[in-house]
Symmetry: C2
Subunit: 205 residues, 2 copies
Amino acid sequence: MRPVPRTAILDRPLAPPRRRDSAATRGAILEAGKRQFAQFGYDRTVLREIAAEAGADVALIKRYFGGKEGLFVEALKSAIGAQDRLRGWDRAAFAREIATLMAGNPHAQEDRTQTFQFLLRAATSPSTAPLLNLAVQERFLGPIRDWLGGKESAARARVLAAVHIGFLVERLIRGKALTGPEREAFIDRAAATIQGLIDAPTPGP
Amino acid sequence: MRPVPRTAILDRPLAPPRRRDSAATRGAILEAGKRQFAQFGYDRTVLREIAAEAGADVALIKRYFGGKEGLFVEALKSAIGAQDRLRGWDRAAFAREIATLMAGNPHAQEDRTQTFQFLLRAATSPSTAPLLNLAVQERFLGPIRDWLGGKESAARARVLAAVHIGFLVERLIRGKALTGPEREAFIDRAAATIQGLIDAPTPGP
DNA sequence: AAGTTTTGTCAACAGGCATTGACTTTGCAT
DNA sequence: ATGCAAAGTCAATGCCTGTTGACAAAACTT
């Protein structure tokens, strides 16, 4: 397989020589790890590269995280941890906002999607999927379910999560953002689909 | 990271000693490759294992496919090619069938999702993403769109595909099949979501 | 200022795995 | 039967990469 050009999204920050500070170093490594794991996935991420981006030495990864897997788990936790901002979202705007996000904004910053990419990569790699199961359950599905509320919130949360993930993958495959009328149609449809999951209180028999 | 138990889905067929036959050997390798790439992903698939399952020698992989990447691409093509069976599906039953499939049958063998798993893994493999993009467009999105028909069929197809993929990933993360009432609720919701995409002729303004 | 602990650097080491090329066997045509 | 090409086997080879431990430099303590 091709070596896969290992270019960073934006040119390596190349951290200025840090004054000795274990916390800062650890943090830098974690951050670089998060980014690279998200971009390349577990297997194709090389510790030496992470160290380089963090401006640290490989050996420190072992010291601070025990090894590659330790760093990954830590990075995963850190990435998922930021998912609490769900509450406070406007129920009416949510669907369309997500849909727009998923259509891909040619100008949007990739910050938002990094977490998801991370999850996605973790999910699709057999090596890390087991690690993900619990984390997703607790910190992802749970909050969504609570936010949704109402009847069958658990099932709706599951489906919603699935749909959401699906959009991410689709976007990943597609590569580029949609434009023009196709974009509009897509957003409409996607928003409607999501909305159906948000407020469906199950008409039931 | 865990070595990832390299157990086959169903016990290795362990092909009976083949009489010398390049076509058959090539085919066996391709088949084994398809299965293992789908199960383990590119990086964690080992050529020696493929060869073993095919009852062939590693060196033959080079001879017939040029190398690992060549085999992967070939396997991908082969997997994608088998997606024509869409037409003929019952529009009424489709949604629920997919939903059920995605909930996971505790007793079923997972053959059904193998192709999709493969696609998914390929999607996250950087070097094959471009190839996949095209393939998905032509052999996946196209047929779905035609099958859907009606207004905005392209956009609906896109969303449907995304949703479908999403279910797959969710299932991948979840690992085990759902059971009991949660299963029922999930299927109901998922089916409704999919159905909404199938027959929505866009009520529009 | 000396000694100690923390932080960081460097250079192997070792395992896994794709790749290679030389060698052997089989099948087939003559 | 015999010889040649195709098919299959085998044993290196070498790279990539995570891990490790010994060493150096800084920071902190007393």
